[in-house]
Structure formats: C-alpha cells, structure tokens
Subunit: 373 residues, 2 copies
C-alpha cells in the first residue's frame, strides 16, 4: 500500500485568485480585466513587464469560474510556462477581437477594468470590439491584496536588500574623488548581478555636489569631488522582488551645513520609523517627518512623499504621503526616505526599508551605516 | 564697433515646437497636452522617463503662444535645466489644479490629449479639475514628426549602434559553452557602459537552446551548451538614442535544421531590406519577409512584426507590420528583424538597423557577421 499523497499547498497564484474572486463576489463583479504589469504578474505569475499601457502584450480576464491570459505570439511560450492556471490566448487581431469570441463572456454583461492602467485609446478599442458589454472602472482595488506580503515574499525582499547593502558597502569602501557618478552607478549595477540579482529594480542614482539637490538625478560623467555630498539611491531586484535604499556620503570632513541637514534628515527618519505600527494612518507617519523637518527650518526643501510600498514593483501601495489616510497593516514593506535638498549646494536623503509587523515594525536593513553628528 | 553677433541656429526643441504649432494651426487645435515620455522629451528636452501613465511627474501643455511643463518637486530642478523653452510649474496638488489656475487656458475651450498615453483615470481627474473645458483626442499624431530623424539624431543612433556592435563582437569572441545566459547579458550591459553608453536601451536578451524559441526570453542561470542556437538581442542607448540589433550564434557545427532556418531568416531579411525605399508602404516590406518565410514552410513560426522605428525610444513609428499601410519616408530608422521559432528546439532571429534615404536605404550596421550557409 502506498503512502497517502502529501497534501500539496496551493500555489501563491491559486491563493491570490481565490482572494480576487472573494472581492469579486463581495462587489458583485462578473468579470475583471487586469492590465497593470504588477497585478498581471501577481495574479497569474506571468512576468512580461512591458506593454505598460498597450493592451496587446498581456491582459488577464478573470470571470467567476475561469481565467484567461491574452498575449501576442512573442509571449505565448512564456505565458504557458509561467501562468499554468490560466488559459492562454494568443491574439492575432488584438485582444478586443479575442475577448469578443470568448464563450466565458457570453453571459457576462459588465467587465470591470483598472482605470489607472488602461489608456483612453485602449478602452475605446475594447468598447468598439465588444459593443454588447459595459465597461466600468473596478469597484475595488486589485493592488490591495498585494500590499501585505507573505513570509515567502518578505524573504525575497530581504534577500534583494542584502544584495543591495553588500553592493553599496563595496562601493562605500572604494569611492574616491575623481570617480564619475556614472562609474559609481555601473559599479553598483554590476555588483547586483554578480551577487545573484536579476538586475537593478530601478535606475541607480548617484548624485554628487549640486546634483544631490535633484532627488531623481541621472548619473553622468560628472566627477565626484572632495567635499561633495553624494546621494546613492539604488536597489537590487531578486526573483522579481525589489529593494530600495538611499545613503548619503560626504566626501571628507563635513561642512557645517552638511552635518546639519544630515542630522535633521536622520532624526526625521528615526521619529517616523518609531511611529510605524498597524492601524497608524500612512499620512500620520509622513507628517511626523515633515513637521520635524519644517520645525528645523527646512520645510520647503522636502517636497516629495516620505515613502512607498515595495514588493514586486518598486512603487506600490501603501504610499506614505500627505494624501494617504489609510491605516498601515501587518506585512506591508515600506520605505522611509526623508530628504533635504538645497538648490545649488547639495542634498541629503536617507532611506530604510521597514516591515510593518503585528505589533509594530522591523527595520529590514542590516547595515546601519549612518554618520553620527 | 563690435562684430555682429553670430546668428545662432534655433535649438532642436525650438524647431520641434514650431512644427507642432504648424500642426496645431492646420488642425485648429487650441491647446495640446503631451503625456507620452517620448514626446515629452522630444518637444521639451525634459528627460525624466518614469510616470508613464501617471500624469503627475511630467505633462506638457502647449498653447498657440505659450508652453508649460508641469512636474512635481522631485523633478523641478531637472526640468528647469533641461527644458529652458518651457515655463516649469511644480504641481503640489496634481496637474489638474495647476492647469485650472493657468491664465493661458482662460480663452481656451478645447484641450487635445494623447489617447494612447493618458489613462482613463487621469482623464477623469483632469475633466473634474477643469469642468469648463472639453478634452478631446488629438486630431493628429505627435509621434509623426519624430519618425524622420535629423542628421544629428542619425549620428547619435549610429554611435549607439557602433557601441552595441563592439560589445556584441567582444561577446562573440568570448562566448563558450558553460557560460550562463545571465553572465553573457551582464557582459554586454557592462561593455555598453564602459564604451560610453547611457546603458542598455531595453532589457538585453540572451536566449539559448529551447529558450531561443521565445522571442522575448529573459536571460537566466541556464548554461549555454554546445549545439545550442543562441539569440542575442540588445542595444546600447547613447545620449538618449537607441540602437537595436539581434544576432544568432550556433555553438558548434550547425545541425541541418539550424542551417535551414538561419538561411531562411537571412534571405527573408535580405529581400525585405532590398525593398525599403521612400513611399513604399511599411506593410509591403513586412509582407515580403513574411511571404518568403511562409513559402519555405515556416509561416506559422514567425508571429511578430518585421520591425519598428528606433530613435529616442526603442519602439516608435513606423512599425513594419501587416497593419501599417503608411509609406516609408526619408530619415526613418527601422529595424528589420525576421525570425523563425521552433518550440522546444530553438530559434533564429537576425536584426539590422536601416535608414530610409532619399533614394532608397542604407544599412547602418558595420559588422555584417552573418554565417554563410
């Protein structure tokens, strides 16, 4: 007699589809069209990431009983391999024509779509191809279930972060005046991949001197000079999951203004992190850092949000911004990245990755290489 | 008496704005909202490329007399430096609120937008913020003027291509069985930047063995083996301009099927390139390659379009596809990239960059490293 077969756990995608169908039932949605790359990957496993606002390279259609992945012939094989729970349809005349021929839509009247991730032109084409159907914005968010990470997802982000810290640590040891921003960025990107990452999770920022006052500067042929502040904002991607950290190095003994804004940013970050806990509104955390920076006289020099969720995509829910009143929840991984930018002089930004836990928070970074002023 | 000041040539952006205003007059458009990253950069010089379908990080508004760049505080300094012809507005409560306060829109009734590059949600927000205005899809294409490249733009693409070919040539000399796809891709990406490129113009593809049958395979830990076909599709970006080439290497003496599909793809490419000339419909060029491949019995194994325009962005007008009936015009730079993909076995794709000239065509590649079968 053979042993009873081991009860296998459903795949993450099966669990996610089940969550999605729960939301569909709750909101009486008959069919959902998924067009954002993040949600496409999360719910189906399909990795192709381009075609962000072109509906031709990857759309999911989920009805109450069936699920389809519509793609074009470039991606058919990848879709079959990566999204085994989905019926893959290769579109030759666009997804509208393919959807129009689907038996699964025969009894469906309303198709809900993601309004942030469908272009006006794409919606027009779909309406034209399916004149008998109504298209309506989704009555709930598909991003919601992605915000709280599973233990497996947290492990992948921690691994991506460990790679990132190792790369930044290596750069830290080697960075000298005379090196260009572009060389430093190339060093990081190469280290990421040598250490097993898929690549960078976004374009690596190395901004020196006055460039450090530009929160999203592009590294160029500019040489890093003695006395500069150098903002390094980067992250490795590991098995699809992103890390994101920022460090600011001062090339030599800090000048008074450098030490001052560094200390202000660091304290703002400490105060904000200490406030993170389940149930706390995201904008309350933002406000703590923002108010502290303003109280020290630098309010006008911190213009961006305090942070954002990180997961399969580098920016996802929840955002830590003045506008997000939603409560934080366990499993969310968020950046805390205050900055002070003095035009023409330079800037300081510091960023940690923080996991919201059942009782409070856990800083995921190991390498707390802060200056102490 | 001082010498007369040298008559300075208008900047490319000034010329492009003037072309745009010509189109606006012709189509009686009062105001145009530019939301695609390609057009934002082309018409303004502003380089920030993210926020593809989020209107918050970069929108242009061009009226008959004025032009504005709306961004958020992360990008204000970069916008001021990169887009000197534009009035930069930093949006604190979103672009809708900023537009609603603009004097330049007081006498404007209709604002034309890019329907392919504005999400349904963004349009809803704009309509809500500007209830007195009508929003309508642009009655002409903003991409059109970008298709034909100036001599300066052609030089930048040629430089990007030269870097790409040098990197592929170096890989070609060093690629051996046992190397992984990811290692080969990292080699290329590192070479691009060492040779002065901004980076890769898209995610480098190195696909070996059965993976070579996936036109957009992601390089992984898979080892390249003797006997594999290896498809390498990559391109450097140089000062914003993209190159794009594909080569297929056979790791050892070609098997019969490898030699056969290589020869079919190469001949399809030769026939298609020979047909390129101003006035020829783009889909006629596609058809020549497609018909030839079908005549050799591989029609079902070539599912993607034959090629696409390349410039500031890796995919732009004109597309060489069965659907594009538009005539080719001088100055366009297009890829010609037929492929045959045999599921489970492997595939061959070959790609050249071709400039449409006044009288015909010029292949921009220097390195014609084809096999001869």
């Amino acid at each position: 007699m053979s042993a009873a077969p081991a009860k296998s756990r459903p795949s993450p995608e099966a669990e996610r589809l089940s969550t999605l169908r729960g939301l569909m039932n709750e909101h009486q949605a008959e069919a959902v069209l998924v067009s954002s790359p993040a949600n496409r990957r999360y719910y189906s496993g399909f990795k192709a990431q381009d075609g962000l606002i072109d509906e031709s390279s990857g759309l999911l259609l989920v009805t109450r009983r069936e699920q389809f992945l519509l793609t074009d012939s470039r991606y058919t094989e990848a879709a079959l391999a990566e999204a085994p729970l989905f019926t893959v349809k290769t579109c030759r005349r666009g997804p509208g024509a393919e959807l129009a021929g689907l038996g699964a839509l025969k009894k469906v009247k309303t198709i809900a779509f993601e309004p942030e991730y469908l272009s006006v032109a794409s919606l027009d084409r779909l309406c034209e191809a399916l004149p008998e159907h109504d298209f309506e914005p989704l009555p709930f968010s598909l991003d919601g279930p992605r915000a709280a990470k599973s233990p497996e997802e947290i492990k992948l982000v921690v691994k991506a972060l460990a790679i990132t810290e190792a790369a930044v640590g290596a750069l830290w040891q080697n960075m000298v005046p005379g090196q260009t921003e572009a060389e430093a960025a190339l060093f990081l990107d190469t280290e990421f991949r040598r250490l097993g990452a898929d690549g960078p999770s976004f374009e690596t920022i190395v901004a020196s001197g006055p460039n450090a006052a530009l929160p999203h500067a592009v590294p160029g042929p500019k040489k890093i000079k003695a006395g500069d502040t150098v903002v390094i904002d980067c992250g490795a991607r590991y098995q699809g999951y992103c890390a994101d950290i920022t460090r600011t190095k001062i090339m030599g003994p800090p000048k008074k203004w450098q030490a001052e804004i560094y200390a202000v940013v660091k304290e703002a970050q400490r105060l904000a992190i200490a406030a993170i806990a389940p149930g706390v509104p995201a904008n309350a955390v933002d406000k703590i850092a923002r108010d502290y920076i303003a109280s020290r006289g630098f309010g006008e020099f911190f213009g961006h949000g305090l942070g954002h969720g990180v997961g399969l995509f580098i920016h996802e829910a929840p955002s830590l911004s003045p506008r997000n009143v939603g409560p934080l929840q366990p499993g969310e991984i968020i950046t805390v990245e205050p900055g002070v930018y003095l035009p023409g002089k330079g800037g300081v930004r510091l960023e940690q990755l923080v996991l919201v836990t059942e009782k409070g928070r856990r800083v995921l970074n190991h390498n707390l290489d802060f200056y102490d002023f």
